[in-house]
């Protein structure tokens, strides 16, 4: 069997393999630092006990599920308050409740979403109060 343009073909295969495996060997041994989330907004500083509506573990793992449930509660059921596990009652509002404390969206929400490659579509409609002012 004769291989035409042997040099070009082999160089091409080598170049392809290098490019395809680039992510595997480039980041090897290096740890990308986890995102540095800031909790130093004025509203959070004023709180006696820094607690989100649910426990930090739950919020970190499942805030997206909670927000999806909130969305359906408000829009489809007309239910506008949320009773947390500890009995506290919160107004269901992304702009009004979440961003009231986490007013630093770029240093809180975005840092982690960028790190994990999540692209939530919330902000195409929901308003970031900082941007409006």
């Amino acid at each position: 069997m004769k291989l035409y343009n042997r040099g070009m073909v082999i160089a091409g295969i080598v170049a392809f393999l290098i490019a395809a495996t680039f992510p595997l060997w480039y980041g090897r041994g290096k740890a990308v630092p986890p995102p540095d989330l800031k909790l130093d907004t004025p509203a959070l500083e004023r709180l006696k006990e820094k607690r989100c509506i649910e426990s930090t573990t739950y919020m970190r793992a499942s805030h997206m599920k909670l927000l999806a449930a909130w969305r359906d509660d408000v829009v489809r059921e007309g239910k506008r308050t949320y009773t947390a596990a500890d009995g506290r009652i919160h107004q269901i509002s992304l702009t009004g409740t979440c961003l009231n404390c986490h007013s630093n969206k770029d240093k809180f929400c975005d840092r982690c979403h960028d790190y994990s490659g999540a692209k939530p579509a919330c902000w195409s409609c929901h308003i970031i109060p900082e941007e409006v002012r």
Binding site: G78, T81, P129
Partner: protein, 263 residues
């Protein structure tokens, strides 16, 4: 039978005592002692309790409208971040003014006086009893609530515009472009829409939940718009409907509109 003066004074006295009771110190202390878990604080609920109804309805009296007044439109569009694309082709409206001949084509004839034909008629979503937009929506983004409000879930809308084809009143508008840059002044309390989403009047359900009447009704200084529960004989809407002839747009279609016009 009307109460006698004596009976009336008795009732008034008891009512005054009843109103004063919660403010007495001893009773107020009792209430503070009871556990409040599960009850909401005023800050969470807002200052007013939510307005509730069996069937929300609106009456429109275009004869009361001042010429060239657009207060209802301005208030609604400011409240709901409705964009202005400055182009009639892309126009987005939740409430707008129309000519009588367009609103009531079957009732118009050449002998109508000018005082009628020249009236500006506010038109908005009729929140139909049998809404065709809800029937055709493939994703159930449009749905009818228990209180009759035909709502849109913008999260679910895929922009197919079946609802726009189905609505006989032209109450729906499509966002052909990202509307955010075209909103004159953004109201942070209400979301904007996004490109590829249909929008329409929601009878201010977000205000009703806070105990406030719709923005257009509040904005109208001439009281041309009234809002209330059409099942409640004492509501503003029924007080108007019960005393004169009212029209609905294209009733022959069987959609059962709940915006009533008094011309």
């Amino acid at each position: 039978m009307a109460p006698t003066r004596r009976e009336f004074l008795k009732i008034a006295g008891f009512s005054a005592v009843g109103l004063a009771l919660p403010f007495l110190p001893s009773l107020a202390f009792d209430q503070a002692g009871t556990p409040t878990a599960g009850s909401s604080s005023p800050a969470v609920q807002g200052p007013l309790p939510a307005l509730k109804a069996k069937r929300w309805a609106m009456t429109v009296e275009p004869r009361k409208c001042r010429p060239d007044c657009t207060d209802c439109i301005a208030a609604c569009h400011l409240e709901h971040n409705v964009p202005d694309f400055r182009n009639p082709k892309d126009d987005i409206h939740w409430i707008s003014l129309e000519k009588v001949e367009h609103v009531f084509p079957a009732e118009t004839h050449p002998r109508l006086p000018e005082s009628i034909t020249k009236l500006p008629v506010p038109v908005l979503c009729n929140h139909c009893e049998n809404p065709p937009c809800v029937r055709v929506c493939p994703t159930q983004a449009t749905f009818k609530r228990a209180d009759g409000i035909v709502m849109m879930d913008y999260h679910r809308c895929i922009g197919c515009r079946f609802c726009m084809a189905a609505c006989p009143y032209g109450s729906r508008s499509m966002n052909w472009r990202d509307p955010r840059p075209f909103v004159r002044k953004i109201n942070p309390a209400f979301p904007t829409r996004t490109k590829g989403v249909v929008e329409k009047c929601n009878f201010c359900e977000e205000r009703l939940a806070r105990g406030i009447l719709p923005a257009c009704v509040i904005a109208c200084k001439d009281k041309a718009l009234a809002f209330g529960d059409q099942e409640d004989p004492r509501s503003d809407v029924r007080l108007i409907l019960d005393k004169c002839l009212s029209l609905r747009r294209r009733p022959e279609l069987g959609t059962g509109p709940r915006v009533y016009y008094i011309l």
